[in-house]
């Protein structure tokens, strides 16, 4: 009886020891399985992510304030020479902009009269939601930011997100009180765009660097450095004519575009809420209306 008891104890200890030894290997294998599952079908994981982000948003919002204050104070420390140079540049910019303002007023009046003559149906007005960036969690591999606004604030998946200068990304996950924005610089970002003056269509792809690349360009597209890139509105997810960047290089790496906004310095953003077809939003399909 005692021998049997000892045998049982020995077996139990061996099993326990084996379980402890195998635990890390099993967890690593499980993690790899999750990664494969994520690659095949990311929707359930996206829901889990939205839940966690919603839960964490108030905490991140509170923690981000002192971080933002420290970062801003670093940005505020500049030498007198830099400030003088900036002042000169701003004066020059102001002089140029005053001329452009006059031209814009004239064109606006002209445009308005043509629209009235042709009875053009105006695009629906865009609704903006302004929010502070509470976290920029991705780091080296993922270029995304979190906003403390969600479906409760009428922010939805697919909405365009702008800084003061142009498009910086689009909402890819929206919870009830938080939203994750995939930046245009992210490796997985693909935005339908066009060259502003030639209306040449292309796809703007992120590269996880400061520069973006134009893809799927037609042959002989006649591009040159300095041309502005704007959204084309193709696909219906993003409104057309939102500026994104300018072409800075045409070479062996392709046509490279620099965003108009230095994204790492952006604190507040505007989410553009367009009234678009909900069927275009993946995972939010709705039944067709009955006729």
């Amino acid at each position: 009886m005692t021998r049997r008891s000892r045998k049982d104890t020995f077996q139990a200890v061996t099993l326990r020891s084996l379980a402890i030894r195998l635990t890390p290997a099993v967890l690593i294998l499980f993690s790899l399985t999750l990664m494969i599952f994520y690659k095949l079908d990311s929707l359930p994981i996206e829901r889990a992510r939205v839940t966690v982000t919603d839960f964490m948003a108030p905490v991140l919002d509170a923690v981000s304030r002192p971080f933002a204050a420290v970062t801003n104070s670093f940005d505020g420390v500049r030498t007198m020479r830099e400030l003088k140079a900036e002042n000169i540049r701003l004066r020059e910019d102001n002089a140029k902009l005053e001329k452009w303002y006059e031209a814009a007023l004239k064109l606006q009046a002209e445009n308005q009269s043509f629209r009235e003559l042709l009875n053009v149906k105006a695009d629906p007005a865009l609704v903006f939601v302004t929010a502070r960036i509470i976290s920029d969690p991705g780091g080296a591999f993922v270029k995304s930011v979190l906003l403390p606004v969600g479906t409760g604030d009428n922010v939805h998946k697919g909405n365009a997100v702008m800084s003061g200068h142009g498009l910086i990304g689009r909402v890819v996950e929206a919870g009830s009180q938080s939203a994750r924005v995939l930046l245009v610089t992210d490796l997985n970002s693909r935005i339908p765009v066009m060259v502003q003056n030639t209306r040449t269509r292309a796809i703007l792809a992120g590269r996880n660097t400061d520069l973006l690349r134009l893809e799927r360009l037609p042959i002989d597209s006649g591009l040159s450095v300095g041309q502005r890139i704007v959204t084309s509105g193709d696909g219906g997810q993003l409104p057309p004519d939102i500026p994104i960047g300018t072409i800075v290089d045409i070479g062996p790496q392709g046509v490279l575009v620099r965003p108009l906004t230095a994204i790492e310095k952006v604190t507040y953003v505007q989410v553009i809420n367009t009234s678009m077809d909900p069927a275009l939003i993946s995972g939010e399909l709705t039944a067709a209306p009955a006729h």
């Binding site: 967890l27 993690s31 970062t71 591999f141």
Partner: protein, 181 residues
């Protein structure tokens, strides 16, 4: 406020809950801090791996303060929060925990410089592994500059973070009365 040490199974349960709970809480705070960029020019994309530092250092000094499941859970939380492919940080942290635990006996008697070199080795290895996996998942070579910067900053900050980790690990171990187990 010090935790009361009790005898019997209630005491053991309380100790286990206290050490895992407190450790989880601290690493969770480190996890949140990890999601913010460092202040200063050209550091916007740099994220020091505070969680990796904690897992590495505590595995050597206070292995009783957390388990593989806790490491895995933190990795999953980090993945969900950062937008990484789910499982990437979880696998990385469990791997760090496992490999460091296997070298624990050797590392225990070593001066801080050796521990620092060990962390540098772990940070470079995990950084490279993550880069490879991420490139594989995206079917293209991902830009490496930010990751290199993050690894360098992680190594540079370790001597600053290590004393705090050491002090807190000791506090948890003593308060939960399971030091060295």
């Amino acid at each position: 406020m010090p935790l009361q040490i009790q005898d019997g199974w209630k005491g053991i349960l309380l100790s286990v809950a206290a050490r895992f709970g407190l450790t989880f809480l601290v690493i969770f705070v480190l996890l949140i801090v990890s999601t913010f960029p460092l202040p200063g020019p050209h550091l916007a994309e740099v994220r020091p791996a505070f969680v990796l530092m904690a897992v590495y250092y505590w595995t050597i000094l206070f292995p009783g303060t957390f388990s593989y499941f806790l490491t895995f859970g933190l990795g999953i939380a980090l993945d969900l929060l950062t937008g990484f492919p789910l499982g990437m940080n979880a696998a990385s942290l469990v791997l760090v925990h496992w490999l460091t635990f296997r070298q624990r006996k050797f590392m225990l008697g070593q001066p801080f410089g050796v521990l620092w070199a060990g962390l540098a080795f772990v940070a470079v290895s995990i950084g490279t592994l993550q880069w490879l996996v991420f490139s594989l998942v995206n079917s293209q070579a991902v830009a490496v500059r930010s990751q290199v910067m993050s690894v360098v900053v992680t190594c540079a900050l370790f001597p600053v973070v290590a004393p705090a980790l050491s002090a807190f690990g000791r506090w948890v171990a003593v308060r939960s009365s399971l030091a060295g187990r």
